[in-house]
Amino acid sequence: MGKLSKSPWLLHYDASSCNGCDIEVLDCLTPRYDVERFGVINTGDPFQADILLITGGVNSQTAPVVKQLYSQMPEPKVVLAVGICACTGGVFKECYNIRGGIDTVIPVDIYVPGCAARPEAIIDGVVKAVKLLDEKKEKIRAQKGREEQPGGTYGSEK
């Protein structure tokens, strides 16, 4: 396990959820599911978050907020769409104000289906997100390595 996977901090944003999924997300923090045992903290702060967890579809009012939150998060970061609304727009898809799933605004890495998504499914999603975080970190490191050693192969003398 890498550094990131041992302390993934979440930022939960409600884009236009009916609150069903939000309650399930909060459920994960209760004694029954207790995600803090994996080191997960529900920060309210994009500057400190590693995983952006969004519930509900995007509408015209929340689209700029979602974009801003995403842009404020430091790399590496993972986006987790929780609930069928966040994945595709769900039952609200045809509404005049709904743009659709979160992926219409920012790139989504992991989709957690369900209406409402069950806490078990959310935790599964978070565990996948954590693995992805480590992979992204590796990628960033590899890129950096290439930049610092122009023309050389990994591990060769500078």
Binding site: K6, S7, P31, E36, R37, G39, T43, D45, P74, P76
Partner: protein, 287 residues
């Protein structure tokens, strides 16, 4: 020679001890809430993650101010553990806090600015008692010099039990525990998000956390000063008391809700007056 060893020990061990105490704190808190809680080493994982994250700086000075915060706390702690003047040590501690306030108000986030304002309020709440404690040590041991205070024949706490009670009350502010965690909170479910740390990310936040660990050990060191006297067995006794006091702070954190700032100010000043003030009067009359 002894002082040098203590200072080096503080410089090297304090962040580890602080982080470990934080980990234990999180486990105990979780158990009190009926949860399993994270691993005891979680703060170390958090720190190493924060250092590995991308650095997003909202401005150029924030990192510098945070480093100054860390620097001043380290100097202040070294003064305490080096056995020098306790008054100077407490002044430096307040100066360090001012750097944190500046770091928080250097950015444009309204949450951070509000956190900075509240941090200053908190300083106003605990500062009178902190100074009275220093005066109390002077009256009890006849000196401000830490190296001489620990050589007294009896533990200073016998002369100043009221001050100890008052210090236990206000140190909840320093440990950032409810009901006094107004400016920022370890649990980010408050009305101002993360308060003073809102715009700190990655390494900047990690530096702030390390400074907090140094500060935690420093405050516990002042608590220990209440119990230590010239006999060797007072040292283990002091450590046990420190741990007990830390446990009580955790308990208090878990059974109380966050207060309004006005209540914070009045309650802290009232406690200062009733515990430390009365204690001081008695000490002055005794001497």
């Amino acid at each position: 020679m002894k002082a040098v060893i203590f200072v080096i020990g503080y410089l090297i061990l304090a962040p580890f001890v602080g982080a470990l105490l934080d980990g234990v704190d999180r486990v105990i808190t979780a158990r009190m809430q009926g949860r399993k809680g994270p691993c005891v080493l979680q703060p170390f994982y958090d720190l190493s993650k924060l250092f590995s994250k991308q650095m997003i700086a909202v401005n150029n000075v924030q990192l510098l101010l945070n480093l100054s915060y860390l620097g001043f706390i380290v100097i202040s702690g070294s003064m305490l553990f080096g056995g020098t003047d306790i008054l100077m040590c407490l002044f430096l501690l307040s100066t360090a806090d001012m750097f944190l306030v500046m770091a928080a108000s250097s950015d444009s986030s309204p949450f951070a600015n509000m956190g900075a304002a509240r941090e200053m309020l908190q300083m106003m709440a605990y500062e009178p008692l902190t100074l009275l404690v220093a005066v109390g040590f002077y009256l009890a041991a006849g000196t401000f010099h830490v190296g001489n205070i620990i050589q007294s024949a009896v533990s200073p706490v016998l002369y100043m039990p009221g001050m100890l009670l008052g210090f236990m009350f206000t140190s909840a502010i320093k440990f950032r525990k409810s009901p006094f965690d107004l400016s920022t909170s370890h649990h980010a479910h408050q009305e101002m998000v993360k308060g003073i740390t809102t715009e700190m990310s990655g390494p900047t936040l990690a530096i702030m956390n390390i400074a907090e660990y140094y500060e935690k050990v420093l405050i516990l060191g002042i608590f220990a000063l209440f119990f230590i006297n010239s006999s060797w067995w007072s040292w283990p006794v002091a450590i046990v008391f420190c741990l007990a006091i830390y446990f009580m702070e955790i308990l208090w954190d878990n059974v109380s809700a966050r207060l309004h700032w006005k209540t914070l100010l009045t309650s802290c000043w009232l406690v200062t007056l009733l515990t430390a003030g009365v204690n001081l009067l008695i000490l002055i009359l005794m001497k």
